[in-house]
């Protein structure tokens, strides 16, 4: 198991503060993503707990791109991962944001 934390600045706060949302399942090749609007002083914080050790650089790249796509602030994202591929991670993150904002930017 490996624990990784990433923090991004410069995003925009959400229009409203929607309730927290969870997508995905903690199963082999999959992950769960919990997204919670919360006051982080304008930051977006992503905490990853993963069963696959040694992929920090790939997480960094995947999450950089995710943040570039959505540029959110004051959101805490928590991930429990069981070796999902970057494609699945990106998909779940996008789904979680979609579920959180109901498709509104």
């Amino acid at each position: 198991m490996e624990s990784l934390t990433f923090e991004y600045q410069g995003g925009r706060p959400l229009a409203s503060a929607p309730p927290a949302t969870l997508v995905g399942v903690v199963s082999s090749g999959n992950l769960e993503v919990l997204v919670e609007p919360t006051d982080l002083g304008g930051a977006c914080r992503i905490e990853v707990l993963t069963a696959a050790v040694g992929f920090g650089a790939i997480w960094q790249a995947v999450l950089d791109d995710f943040f570039d796509r959505h540029r959110i602030a004051d959101v805490r994202i928590s991930i429990n991962d069981v070796g999902a591929t970057p494609a699945v991670v990106s998909l779940r993150l996008d789904q979680a944001l979609e579920a959180l904002t109901g498709g509104q930017p």
Partner: protein
């Protein structure tokens, strides 16, 4: 005076030695061993039938049980090393030399035996190459083949799994060799004659029906949403744009996803009747919904697939069937069809390098090639035109002062990471190391980069036809390699430039909403859905059922 009839006299001597154990052409099951010891001579070139579907398993077992003191130094020529007995023959010292095409399940053991010096490999071929050499310099002296049934005159009925039998028997029988067939039953009249009796010397009933592997069945339940997305890109970004109507699909969940999206997604794009009408393909159960919805006009097959018999029989307008109603397959002819008459091949692989070369080789395993290289190669001898072929050719030649010609579409479809986070894109194929460690003349490349027209991943489609330099080609591949080390090392500006030029196209560039890429798009979600789509005609093997 030169003697021009040595082969025929040798054949006669062999037949005479076998006379005591045969009644006409029929040999009792218990006498199979005696028969082989009578007709096979040390040093013979022996062809043992068995592809990745049906197996002459009883004759393989019998051959492996012979006394190496009497039968030895055989040169085996065969399509596939599938059964443990195929290697027992070498381990026991009965055979020493091998020419073959594919060894999937036995690849690791094969590598060990080669390493130990117990097998000398002549060459690893594609199916068509190997079949070709049966008529040039690898003609079998004795062939051990397999059929569903025989009559007393030796006429063989193969049922839907004709596969390699005709090409093996033709090469052997017309060069004075000996043909022995194992059959499930000996009956008075065969339902149809797949191999004429006067090409066959002996028939033996096997103690149990021959083994067939259901190799082409993919359970729709295991198709992922990523594979659905990739299938959407294949249909919209390639099949529709090139108007692909004649094609072959590799085996895999990626291609099964495409088959299952035809009646739903492709239909919604108005593509019925415009794409995917003619196939060189085994009867994939995943194709049933597309057939039922009227997408598919014809399918010719290398072999059959377990459980599809009744469905095929009920759809004679689509499949090639005999007067008895059951399918007639033929691997050699379908391989030729796939190579020359198809506009597109799409399949998966394990590794792709920066030039687009792909390989399924892994260290410690000698896997071979099978049919993919013939499907996945531009047919340089092709002369007839089609819209897809012409468009691909135009793209490859635009801006160059060369005479116009067409080109085949060869698509490598892979997720950037395989399971356990193994990257599909690599700087250097493992095939190089394998070649060095196994003393091969060349690294075993499945599909050469120069033949690949597109690389499709969940990140998008790289159209290699439009690349003008090796550097562009490399960046186009890096550009769809996602978060693999190869992908992360891309030149971002160059990749964006390639995207602007349409060399790289992402899902959004194709107008595909990724949110729609869910399993809901699949025309069947389970094997049971396939059974229902077939009107109850498809009868899947037990292991694929959940009812």
């Amino acid at each position: 005076m030169h003697d021009w009839d040595l082969q025929a006299r040798n054949r006669k001597a062999r037949l005479e030695r076998a006379a005591p154990v045969s009644k006409g052409k029929v040999v009792a099951t218990a006498d199979a061993r005696a028969l082989l010891e009578a007709v096979i001579e040390p040093g013979d070139r022996v062809c043992l039938e068995g592809n990745n579907q049906k197996q002459a398993d009883f004759l393989a077992k019998t051959l492996a049980s012979l006394d190496p003191g009497r039968v030895h130094d055989l040169h085996m020529v065969q399509s596939v090393l599938a059964l443990p007995e195929h290697l027992d023959i070498f381990e026991r010292g009965i055979a020493t030399r091998l020419d073959f095409s594919f060894s999937g399940p036995q690849g690791a053991r094969l590598a060990k035996l080669v390493g130990a010096g117990q097998i000398a490999i002549g060459a690893i071929h594609t199916y068509l190459e190997l079949f070709g050499r049966y008529f040039v310099d690898l003609t079998p002296r004795v062939s051990l083949v397999v059929a569903q049934a025989a009559d007393a005159a030796g006429n063989l009925y193969t049922g839907p799994n004709t596969e390699d039998t005709p090409v093996i028997v033709e090469a052997t029988a017309f060069k004075r060799g000996i043909v022995i067939a194992q059959v499930n039953e000996i009956i008075d009249t065969v339902p149809r004659v797949d191999i004429p009796g006067d090409w066959v010397d002996f028939v033996v009933q096997s103690p149990s029906p021959h083994y067939i592997e259901p190799l082409f069945t993919r359970d729709p339940a295991q198709i992922s949403e990523i594979q659905v997305l990739m299938a959407m890109m294949a249909i919209k970004g390639i099949y529709a744009e090139y108007e692909v109507n004649r094609l072959n699909h590799g085996i895999g969940f990626d291609t099964a996803a495409i088959e299952l999206l035809l009646p739903t997604y492709a239909e919604s794009l108005g593509l019925k009747g415009k794409i995917c009408r003619h196939w060189a393909l085994n009867p994939h159960p995943a194709l049933i919904p597309a057939i039922e919805s009227g997408f598919v006009e014809s399918v010719h097959s290398f072999g059959s697939e377990m459980g599809m018999e009744a469905y095929i029989q009920a759809r004679p307008d689509v499949f090639f069937t005999g007067p008895d109603g059951s399918m007639r397959s033929n691997r050699a002819l379908c391989q030729a069809a796939g190579h020359y008459a198809c506009d597109l091949f799409i399949g998966s692989t394990l590794q792709i390098d920066l030039a687009g070369n792909s390989s399924t080789a892994t260290l410690g395993r000698i896997a071979g090639f099978g049919g993919a290289p013939n499907m996945g190669a531009d047919a340089r001898g092709r002369r007839h035109a089609s819209p897809a072929w012409l468009k691909a050719g135009r793209e490859a030649r635009s801006g160059r002062n060369v005479i116009p010609r067409g080109q085949k579409l060869v698509i490598q479809m892979v997720e950037t990471f395989r399971e356990h986070m193994q990257p599909a894109f690599v700087e250097r194929l493992d095939a190089w190391e394998l070649a060095e460690s196994a003393g091969m003349a060349l690294p075993p490349v499945m599909i050469y980069g120069e033949d690949v027209s597109h690389v499709l991943t969940e990140e998008g489609i790289a159209n290699l036809l439009l690349c003008r330099t090796d550097e562009e080609r490399e960046q186009a591949i890096r550009g769809v390699a996602g978060y693999t080390p190869v992908g992360l090392a891309r030149d971002k500006r160059m990749v964006e430039n390639l995207r602007d030029r349409g060399v790289i196209r992402r899902a959004e560039d194709l107008g595909i909403d990724k949110r729609l890429a869910t399993r809901d798009l699949l025309a069947a979600h389970s094997i049971k859905d396939l059974v229902r789509a077939s009107g109850g005609l498809y009868d899947p093997p037990k292991r694929f059922r959940n009812w």
